[in-house]
């Protein structure tokens, strides 16, 4: 994928060059084979980690690369275009590091972040539960008072990297007070009583393990608490604001990859004596795809630049997630159409892109929930 990008620094250009080399040599060539085998490519994450890509937006003093969101997200976009399981994995890992980086005490940051950002460890983010998805504040996993520390019992569902992660950023209930009773905890994967279920058998993105994570009397020391007691839901939502931009970037990457295949194919396939790209019905479709992709990229980058500037960006992040993932679903569906029968078989990657696109409309807040967030922001409360 060669996309003309406006990058803010030479440093960012160098970074994108490195990412281009890594995606071409280490990520893209494995995607199709590993996806059909449903194998999680831990070694690819190690390679990316060694290259410094698992802590990009965090401070250098803790092992990050101090890159603006604007740059970090374009890295995610490139990775996702090569292989969604990897791009989304980097996004989820980065999201899992956010609570400690943004709300941790200086001691927690010093103790935990170098490992979390250093490239060897992989994180998971545990919010959803079997009975609590969109209504995340209804979560029931309990972190009870236990001689100063916590005793955790409950089941988390749909956890990306469940069973393969090295640490879990957990949202659990410390009081029966709805959203105000939730706290954020840092849990190492080796904690006694923590176990993961069999990975879900998914429609796509099969190389990214999604599993239930059980907490059976997991004992945690008081230092496991990240932020204040009862602050967990606010932390979770702040993390998701950023995570949604990660999902938007993934969607743009997958859509771009599908478009690249479609446009290449349309330039070669001949019917009725001409290239199908020369039929206006096709070229208009390709024109719409290209326009939608560019618009989605501009929207997530606009939100990212607002975040980088320290401005409120939550509503725009919801818009970017909504627009980019709906766009990705349309564009990947159209890419299958451009390839005709060849689009529907596994010899070409577009059917995989279409299956991958669907999950992006669901994760980190379904697109209905994004509309709910945006709707609340744009309408004034009823004065009556």
């Amino acid at each position: 994928m060669t996309v003309d990008r406006m990058l803010p620094s030479d440093e960012a250009r160098e970074l994108m060059g490195l990412v281009g080399e890594l995606t071409a040599k280490e990520v893209a060539p494995r995607a199709a084979g590993e996806e059909s085998a449903g194998r999680f490519p831990r070694e690819v994450f190690r390679t990316l980690g060694a290259a410094g890509l698992l802590g990009l937006p965090y401070p250098q003093e803790y092992g990050g690369a101090a890159q603006p969101q604007e740059v970090y997200l374009q890295v995610v976009e490139e990775l996702a275009g090569a292989w969604l399981a990897v791009g989304l994995g980097v996004s989820v890992h980065t999201l899992s590091c956010f609570p400690v980086a943004a709300y941790g005490t200086p001691e927690q940051r010093e103790e935990l972040l170098p490992g979390m950002l250093g490239g060897d460890l992989l994180g998971a983010y545990c919010l959803s539960e079997p009975q609590s998805g969109s209504d995340a504040a209804a979560l029931s996993t309990r972190a009870a008072e236990d001689s100063g520390g916590f005793l955790v019992d409950g089941v988390k569902a749909w956890i990306t990297h469940g069973g393969v992660a090295d640490f879990y950023t957990l949202m659990a209930r410390t009081a029966d007070d709805g959203a105000r009773g939730v706290s954020c905890l840092h849990v190492p994967a080796g904690a006694a009583g923590l176990s993961a279920g069999v990975p879900e058998r998914k429609m796509g993105m099969r190389s990214s393990p999604t599993a239930q994570v059980r907490f059976d009397g997991v004992r945690l020391p008081p230092e496991a608490l990240v932020g204040e007691r009862g602050e967990g839901f606010r932390i979770a939502m702040a993390a998701l604001d950023g995570g949604r931009l990660g999902i938007a970037a993934c969607a743009v990457g997958v859509a771009q990859a599908a478009f690249d295949v479609a446009v290449g194919y349309a330039g070669e396939r001949r019917q009725f004596g001409s290239r199908i790209a020369d039929f206006q019905g096709m070229s208009f479709m390709l024109a719409d795809m290209a326009t939608q992709i560019a618009a989605a990229r501009a929207l997530y980058l606009d939100a990212a630049r607002m975040r980088d500037a320290g401005l409120p960006y939550g509503t725009k992040a919801a818009m970017a997630k909504l627009f980019a993932t709906d766009m990705c679903m349309r564009v990947t569906t159209d890419a299958v159409q451009v390839l005709g029968g060849y689009g529907y078989v596994e010899d070409f990657p577009v059917e995989r892109y279409m299956r991958e696109a669907k999950v992006l409309q669901i994760v980190e807040g379904t697109n209905q929930i994004q509309r709910l967030v945006i709707g609340r922001a744009v309408t004034k409360p009823d004065p009556a």
């Binding site: 160098e14 970074l15 490195l18 390679t47 060694a50 290259a51 410094g52 890509l53 690369a65």
Partner: protein
Amino acid sequence: MNIVVCVKQVPDTATERKLRSDDKTLDRDAADGVVNELDEYAVEEALRLKEAHGGEVTVLTMGPGRATETIRKALAMGADKAVHLSDDALHGSDALATSYAMAQTLKKIGFDLVILGSESTDARTGVLAAMLAERLGTPQLTLANKVDVDGTAIAIQRVTDYGFDKVEATLPAVVSVVEKINDPRYPSFKGIMAAKKKKVETLGIADAEIAAELVGLAGAWSEVAEFAAAPPRAAGTIVKDEGDGGTKTADFLASKKFI
């Protein structure tokens, strides 16, 4: 241990490569310059030896100004500093002249071990390691797929048609490596940033005490007399299976001496 690793910038093999019509040398502006692939293995080996035994890794590149891109890549992988031998007078140097210029530079900068890739993807002469060793008066250990250093003793496995030879020598020495030797690392983002601050010393021929008449096109012992573009690929042969497809295919392969 003071390790010097020789790195060459070559035209990307993925792009079309051309010779210049005026002086019949490689047209270095016609294609993107990249690190000669085998040299990445040389850099990796140098870094591993340094990690195991301590010391310093210096990159040595002979080439035009734009070869600094290649130097940066080797520095980003982790080399400590670089020497860039660059002078218009060197343009058109053949293997003998190049080995002379490099040897003079190596004498000037000093080394315990010189490591290089066993050949470059552009000229593919594969003789530089031997020539350098001869000019420097050191042992040559070429085509290594394994290198062990113990104090001043060095041993390699030299790849052969039948397996490998074990070659031993005492430092200082010149080693050339093949791609089986290791798996070169990618530069890290931090490495790329750090490389910008590393020292690159540029030397001209006078600085390295290189005699102008022994290098460049004029000093070359070999000459490109003539060249022509590779003939376009001929159309393929289509074998129609009329019950004898197997025989026809076998005949075709036999005519090309594949079977």
